[in-house]
Symmetry: C2
Subunit: 404 residues, 2 copies
């Protein structure tokens, strides 16, 4: 039996080194998706549609045939513009090399239908990734089901890194996974704090997971690999590029339940991640900061120009998931003004803690009717907030301290 | 002729010392409104309705008659509960004293219909003030027509005071008056910066304007009196109280085109001002700050729980008035990603500034079709962003510096 013209016995071991593939169909599907992730740039809608309509294997077979100048009646139709884009990269040897390279780095291939596949990615429709290359235990991708993306500037301030760490620590305390892009600054702070809190954390890279980028985060990414997962939609060997960074951002936004931007310059990749999240209907949070800090300008821009919610704590970030922000201590009390009726406030204002006053005097001072005053004084006395002395009514010190 | 039972010749000089009153009717109206502002607490809706329906003089005459146990058929009806509230304060001698005291402090009385009356206050309906006691040139109240309230915590941080000063300076630079409550902290910083910028600034006090409160701001309030105005709806001699502070906040919100909260604790009078503004349909701005600062917690609460707009500069505060935030330098450029088409970004990503590459090579690297690449390279060459060398196409350094 052959798979895309190659003997199954040659292809199967390569595939089985990176994925479970019990039969020919599974081997072919996985090989084809690995090939597609090499042939197209992330987010290629033509490829997404073609694979969705025909399956990865049939779609790839049609592409290979067209590249060879062969055409079969009834075969899937490759759009001419897409054919021109894909043709230079159709290379079976290259895909075999990708699979070997993946096996060498203990990378596994996860595709739609696998139990670990993050089904939220399917919301991307024809722009969904065709496969994920995962370094670390693929089972940990399940943590994405309850996850928040914490993203932000590489040029973060100490304030931003502090907030990212508090946020990540508070989220993993609540059993929520922290997802980010492993960049310097906010991303790194979020991953580190999640790891320190013994929580789940997942890094999405713009380039292949065989190369940990940025190199200064090699140690961090090794730890994430051991205790979380490092994920890319491009195969090993692909370098990061601006386009791939933007497409990686869409993955972070799509894979998580909510996206929080901690610090971001006015033009920032994190703003791009937030826009992706908003387009997918995912809640977006923006952490405010000093208006004097350009590192917070992008967050304030999101608060002004989008539906982003102002978030100031892990509890508020957890709320973005539609969960209660439980575990963050007591709920704040309402305003004084809400608690104290206007009548009571005006009466207490008119009373002294030392000079006793008659109800008539209190009426003149407060502008309340004497009958109302007498009734309210009775209540205040019962509550221990007022006392009657020979000289008249006084306010007790307790009320003074509590309500002022 | 008599006015409320007193000889006109006795009343007129008192009134004329604080307001223009060319005839008996004007004298009576002003005296009656002065009296009402003594009898009722700020925001008394019963008084507002009664005066709106009957005029201040007739309403007061009816009240006086009822207090004396007289009743005239056809006279305005005083609600019994209101009568009980007002009765202890009905005292003609006290009103005459108020007017004398006002004259001594060069306070003028401004009432609805006067050219200086801030007509925005009428939006308060039956809770509008019945008169304003103004220290400083009453003509300066006209500056309220284009004004922003800057309010905030007394326990402000250096950050908050800095932002308040920048905001006030930027607003008066645009010819917008700065209104606040003369408290320590944000209020004081806003007034001071407005004065430093030679701008209009108006302070609303919770107590009578004969006493400058807080006393530590005596010098500041004297300067505001000389160059702006100090205003209260209660007559001279009335002390501030919690209730009157809250009602003063409603005046600040109502008198201005927009309210900006610079720093505020979770429970704060400034939140109350913002709620008043929102209820009146006035735009509210909240200045973000560090989430680690409790002084910004109230601002973040407004951003989360109300329609308050995040504002980070005087230009954005001016925009709340529906004006362009002109004068704050150039508008920020759009995101890089917006400016650069996806094709161009992917092609530039694939090019090197040193190694020449053929279009076919660039196609394989970028995942773009070779024809598309050739067309785009032509455009890039025209724009000086790419150059053809014997070895192939390179990206020019200028693009590299500008777009990265």
């Amino acid at each position: 039996m052959t798979i895309l013209g190659m003997p199954e016995t040659a292809v199967a071991p390569l595939v089985r080194a990176v994925a479970e593939a019990p039969d020919r169909a599974a081997v072919a599907e996985r090989f084809a998706r690995a090939a597609w992730s090499r042939v197209v740039e992330p987010g290629d809608g033509d490829a997404g549609r073609l694979v969705a309509e025909n399956g990865a294997e049939a779609a790839l077979a049609a592409l290979v045939a067209r590249v060879r100048g062969e055409g079969a009646a009834g075969a899937p139709v490759i759009p001419p513009s897409a054919l021109e884009r894909w043709r230079p990269r159709v290379d079976a040897a290259r895909v075999q090399l990708d699979l070997r390279q993946a096996a060498r780095f203990a990378v596994s291939l996860v595709i739609p239908g696998d139990p670990e596949w993050p089904t939220r990615l399917d919301d991307l429709g024809e722009h969904a990734p065709l496969a994920l290359w995962v370094r670390g235990d693929r089972a940990r991708l399940r943590a994405l089901r309850r996850s928040v993306a914490i993203v932000g500037a590489r040029a973060a301030t100490a304030y931003g890194e502090h907030v990212a760490m508090e946020a990540a620590a508070g989220l993993v305390d609540r059993g929520i996974a922290v997802v980010s892009g492993a960049a310097y600054g906010i991303d790194g702070a979020a991953h580190r704090a999640a790891l320190a809190g013994q929580g789940a954390t997942i890094a999405f890279l713009a380039g292949g997971v065989d190369t940990f980028y940025p190199s200064g985060h090699d140690g961090l990414l090794r730890t994430i690999e051991q205790r979380g997962a490092v994920v890319a939609e491009v195969p090993p060997g692909v370098s990061p590029s601006r386009w791939r960074f933007l497409q990686r951002n869409r993955l972070i936004a799509a894979a998580t339940g909510a996206t929080v931007v901690v610090e971001a310059g006015w033009r920032s990749g994190s703003i791009n991640t937030a826009h992706h999240a908003a387009q997918l209907g995912r809640p977006v949070g923006a952490v405010p900061g000093p208006v004097t800090s350009s590192a917070s300008a992008g967050c304030h821009r999101l608060l002004r120009e989008s539906d982003a919610m102002c978030v100031t704590s892990a509890a508020e970030m957890a709320e973005l998931l539609g969960e209660d922000g439980v575990g963050d201590g007591v709920a704040p009390a309402p305003l004084d003004a809400d608690r104290l009726s206007a009548t009571r406030m005006r009466l207490l204002d008119a009373m002294s803690t030392r000079a006793g006053r008659a109800p008539e005097q209190l009426a003149a001072i407060s502008g309340l009717a004497p009958d109302r005053i007498r009734a309210e004084l009775g209540l205040l006395e019962l509550e221990g907030l007022a006392r009657q002395r020979p000289s008249g009514w006084i306010r007790t010190v307790a009320e003074s301290a509590a309500a002022r």
